[in-house]
């Protein structure tokens, strides 16, 4: 464990040094590497907190992460007098407040380990209370749109991301497994993408070139390809298999390496789509990145878009198999 922590710390310091160097040289990669390095630092902080302190500290940390992401989502949507096509109404504010409140409610459910409550808090209670609130407000015009936009936020950032709280309950290493692989997937994707592009540029015109460079969603992100995604997912599964020995026995049972690899594959696939999904959302809202609408904020959604997808899946996989 100590060796592992030292290894992680070493890796981080290396990346930080590389990032500083790139920034000094004003290389075009600097932004990307910088953002990744920061995310890694954050992740290590989360993990160390989860491992070394009382669960409540991790819960507060993760709860604040969910809150920040949810707040950023609601702030991306313009707000006007009437709910419009992609616009919230000022009258949506009470339901938005309610959405935020599901986070402390989830924190409590996680603290008392009441999973059955957590699992219905947002999808049932919040989802049904919001339209009741609207009825009491005597809403008609724009009600459907507002309900859709507000519920979507709650589901992504309070419910899905909130599963991280229960990952902590399963164990700090399981949380680490999920977070680490999700972020590692992004790094691996970066290299795989570069390698693939290099390969493609050396091929002539023809079917091979077409298959290798076929993007998943050209309008959303022309640089993400089916082949690139698949290769990255496989590499993530391999990385997961390598990490399995670090996982302690769960509920008395040692973790099966094949299961670990399968979980890694799932993370590889979902993490890939997480980025695309929020790319789609941003395109729909005509926003380039979630941090710049209000400058200097930080783009939380950009950093957790993979986690929103991988965290609930990882939780369920481990929960079903071992608990």
């Amino acid at each position: 464990m100590l060796l592992f922590l030292v290894g992680i710390a070493g890796l981080l310091l290396f990346f930080t040094a590389v990032s500083a160097l790139l920034r000094w040289r004003k290389a075009s990669l600097a932004e990307e590497v910088s953002a990744r390095t920061e995310t890694w630092w954050f992740m290590v902080a989360v993990f160390m907190t989860a491992f070394a302190t009382h669960r409540m500290v991790s819960f507060l940390f993760l709860g604040f992460l969910c809150f920040s992401a949810l707040r950023e989502y609601f702030s991306l949507l313009p707000m006007g007098e009437k709910a419009g096509d992609k616009t919230l109404s000022f009258r949506d504010r009470p339901s938005i407040l309610l959405a935020y409140l599901t986070i402390p409610a989830s924190l409590w459910a996680a603290y008392v380990r009441w999973y059955e409550l957590f699992i219905i808090l947002v999808p049932v209670y919040f989802f049904l209370l919001a339209p009741i609130l609207f009825v009491v407000q005597d809403r008609t015009e724009g009600a459907l749109r507002s309900l859709g936009m507000v519920s979507l936020g709650a589901l992504f950032f309070a419910f899905c991301l909130g599963h991280a709280l229960f990952l902590v309950n399963l164990g700090a290493m399981v949380l680490f497994f999920c977070f680490f692989l999700t972020e590692a997937r992004d790094v691996v994707a970066f290299w795989v993408g570069g390698a693939l592009r290099g390969l493609v540029s050396r091929l002539g015109e023809g079917t091979a070139r077409r298959i290798l460079s076929r993007p998943v969603a050209p309008t959303i992100n022309p640089r993400k390809t089916w082949v690139g995604g698949a290769v990255t997912a496989l590499l993530t599964a391999l990385l997961a298999r390598l990490l399995v020995p670090l996982l302690p026995p769960l509920n008395g049972t040692p973790v099966d390496p094949l299961f670990g690899a399968a979980a890694g594959l799932v993370i590889g696939v979902l993490g890939f789509f997480g980025d695309l999904v929020f790319g789609m959302v941003k395109r729909d809202l005509h926003v380039k990145d979630t941090g710049t609408l209000l400058t200097g904020h930080g783009g939380i959604i950009d950093r957790v878009n993979g986690l929103v997808f991988t965290v609930p899946a990882t939780f369920h996989l481990f929960y079903w198999r071992y608990f």
Partner: protein, 217 residues
């Protein structure tokens, strides 16, 4: 004591609204001018000053609203409000307490719209700020665009709802510069210029403020 309360307020503004002030204003005396949509605005503008100077900053407020009661008490305790009678018919006289504060070297937080108004709508600026800048031509005036704040607690709202709030401090102007550009007796032009700068920043055009340049792709 006041500094401690303001420190706590700034922490809460950061956590709940993600609102950061950037580099504190170092000028010994300054006037900060902002758009007005909510009761949170004055807290946000005060956060631009260094904590140790917070006791020397005064908010200019309407006497009819902030003159009495618990509200008045809190305003006076937190922001050392200077009360101006609204619609008194004597614009020069009404500003006298403000002038005295400026002569004493104190800094100001001013909302030239004069009222919160409809959320997100920037009303024309009253010319009082122009008059003050003419009379005190050397004091730097910082126009500040508070972006996103109108969603948090619009007029009539009861509970502030968290949204991302950006405090965009624009480059300062002085009365001296304004008079050089518009000539003497230009209070209306000054007010309009400040209004337009803030309007541009609110719309996302114009200056991006000192903390810009950190956007990620």
């Amino acid at each position: 004591m006041r500094a401690a309360v303001h420190a706590l307020i700034r922490f809460l503004l950061l956590v709940v609204f993600g609102a950061r002030a950037g580099e504190p204003l170092e000028a010994p005396q300054a006037i900060v001018v902002g758009n007005h949509d909510t009761h949170l605005d004055v807290f946000l503008l005060f956060s631009l000053f260094p904590l140790r100077r917070v006791g020397r900053v005064r908010a200019v407020a309407a006497e009819d609203y902030f003159g009495r009661g618990l509200r008045g008490l809190l305003a006076r305790a937190l922001f050392r409000t200077l009360l101006i009678p609204r619609g008194s018919g004597d614009p020069q006289g009404a500003l006298e307490p403000v002038r005295q504060a400026l002569r004493r070297g104190e800094s100001l937080v001013v909302f030239p719209e004069g009222t919160r108004g409809e959320p997100g709508v920037l009303l024309p600026f009253k010319s009082g700020i122009g008059a003050l800048m003419e009379e005190f031509p050397r004091i730097p005036v910082y126009p500040v665009a508070l972006r996103g704040v109108e969603r948090t607690l619009p007029k009539g709202g009861a509970v502030p709802v968290p949204f991302v709030v950006e405090i965009r401090r624009l480059s300062p102007v002085t009365g001296e510069e304004m008079v050089a550009r518009w000539g003497p007796s230009c209070r209306k032009a000054i007010a309009a210029e400040l209004h337009d700068r803030i309007a541009a920043a609110l719309a996302g055009e114009g200056e991006t403020g000192p903390s810009a340049g950190e956007g990620r792709t």
